[in-house]
């Protein structure tokens, strides 16, 4: 469904990504791991289109989307969350969810109907009690749930999750992971950037490891966790 071919990117002379190849099948769960600064977030941004690549191409559902703008990619079915939540601060939580409903799903004619769809999504992530709150009143966990709700509102076929579990207790993380499994069963492909190893190792079917902007390993969680290159990057053996 998603294909990243030979993507490179540098910022002011610093190579952030070099020659990355990545494939994702429909409804696959892929974990993207690597030390800090290894280019994971940059790769997600390139897939989402908010950062352009210097070289290489990205295709989605068989279409080359390398030069397609991010809002069109969102319409094609690519949803994302941000590493540090980025709420629309002047709007209530439910209005934050209404934005993708209006712009991705075109639900802008009947206000009440749109709002009830938004409320459904909020209750799906367990945030319906905070619907009328402003984002600045939310906790970190609630902000992350709101980001997830916004991404889900666009009915994505591919979900890019940037450390969606960060700052969550293990119980909360399990709750979110369960939700993600349900979504995945419904046919949503997921790329998860995550630092919490236990979570990413159990959740993902396949793991890709980046180190210094280079893909150093790829395979099943068990293959990757015994891969010498990976051990070197993580433990240094």
């Amino acid at each position: 469904m998603l294909e990243v071919q030979g993507v490179s990117k540098s910022f002011g002379g610093v190579k952030a990504l070099s020659n990355i190849e990545l494939r994702l099948e429909k409804d696959e769960r892929l974990g993207l791991i690597g030390p800090n600064g290894s280019g994971k977030t940059t790769l997600l941004s390139i897939i989402a289109g908010t950062i352009g690549s210097d070289r290489g191409r990205v295709s989605f559902k068989g279409r080359d989307i390398t030069s397609v703008s991010p809002h069109k990619r969102a319409k094609m079915g690519i949803g994302r969350t941000f590493q540090i939540p980025r709420p629309l601060t002047s709007m209530s939580v439910v209005d934050n969810v209404i934005i993708p409903l209006m712009f991705i799903r075109g639900l802008h004619r009947k206000e009440l109907e749109t709002k009830s769809v938004a409320m459904n999504i909020l209750s799906q992530v367990g945030l319906s009690t905070k619907a009328e709150a402003k984002p600045k009143e939310l906790t970190q966990l609630q902000l992350r749930k709101m980001e997830l709700a916004r991404a889900l509102a666009g009915e994505p076929e591919l979900l890019l999750l940037d450390e969606v579990l960060a700052g969550l207790t293990s119980g909360e993380a399990d709750e979110v992971l369960d939700l993600l499994r349900v979504l995945n069963n419904d046919g949503i492909g997921i790329i998860m950037v995550e630092h919490i190893m236990r979570a990413v190792m159990t959740f993902s079917q396949r793991i890709v490891v980046l180190d210094f902007g280079v893909k150093i390993a790829e395979g099943s969680p068990s293959e990757v966790s015994t891969n010498p290159e990976v051990l070197k990057a993580y433990i240094g053996e």
Binding site: A48, G49, T50, S69, P70, H71, K72, A74, K75, G79, R80, F82, R86, P87, L88, T89, S90, M91, D95, I98, I99, P100, M102, F103, I104, H108, R150, A153, G154
Partner: protein
Amino acid sequence: MKRSRAPLYLVILLSVGVALPIFFKQPYFYFASYIVLEYIALSVAWNLLGGYGGYLNFGTSAFFGVGAYASAYIFNSLRLPVILAIPAGGAMAALLGVLIGYSTLRLRGVYFAIATLAATTLVQSIVLNTPALGSAVGLYIRLPPPPPPYGNLIELLFATLFGVTVVSIALSYWVENSWIGRGLMALRDDEEAAETMGVPTFRLKMFANVLSGFLMGLVGAFYPLYIAYMEPYSTFDLGISFNVFVMTLIGGTGTWQGPVIGGLILGTIQQAASVTITSQYNLAVVAAAMLLFAVLAPGGLKGIFSKFITSRAE
């Protein structure tokens, strides 16, 4: 419920404005009110991009002036009907909006603001160097006779500008409550996040800029008929841009009521003040008021007003 009654209010308001000069004769009232209306309409137009989208236009006078000169040229020199010249003024200003927007709306907001300042200089230079537009000498406008039932040109101008103002407010109300307004507010908060939620940010900014420019040009298009003699320095005066910016800010940006309140109150005070003190100082008073508001009440009068309402309701 509220929405279904809006068109009714609109029709009533329009009829009042159009009918008023027929029954109530007081030339000075119309001369002064015309300017207040002009500022309300310009502020409402400014708010479309500046208030909802957060991109500050410092070149209102450029759009206004382009509309004014385009319409003056069309009916004064080409001798085409005024009824054609007015929308043409709006269209020329909209075109200016396309040009500035295309080159700078992809950049940070600061650069858009600077570009609008530069655009003001540029169009002013063009007029100064074009004899057909009167250069620095200016243009004398051949004023058409007023059609009945209006006994006086200013009465007609008041009525039509009143109509334009009401329509602008209605448009602004529509933008605010439609997906366009929502998208603009989303991108004002965070452009990148808005993009990933499917908001076509550039297109919306362009739309708001062009619509805003069109309305400013439309307002400008009436100006030659009002002033009868036009020259580039006062037409493209930075003071116009400043007034509009301040009125919106003091009234409250990002709501359709804000610029109406700001334009009405500040515009009226200015008109009253220009009789008593010189126009130079009243600009300074406006600037000082704006700084106070910017620091103490960023939500503007509308913000203070709604805070008052909600605190009373609680």
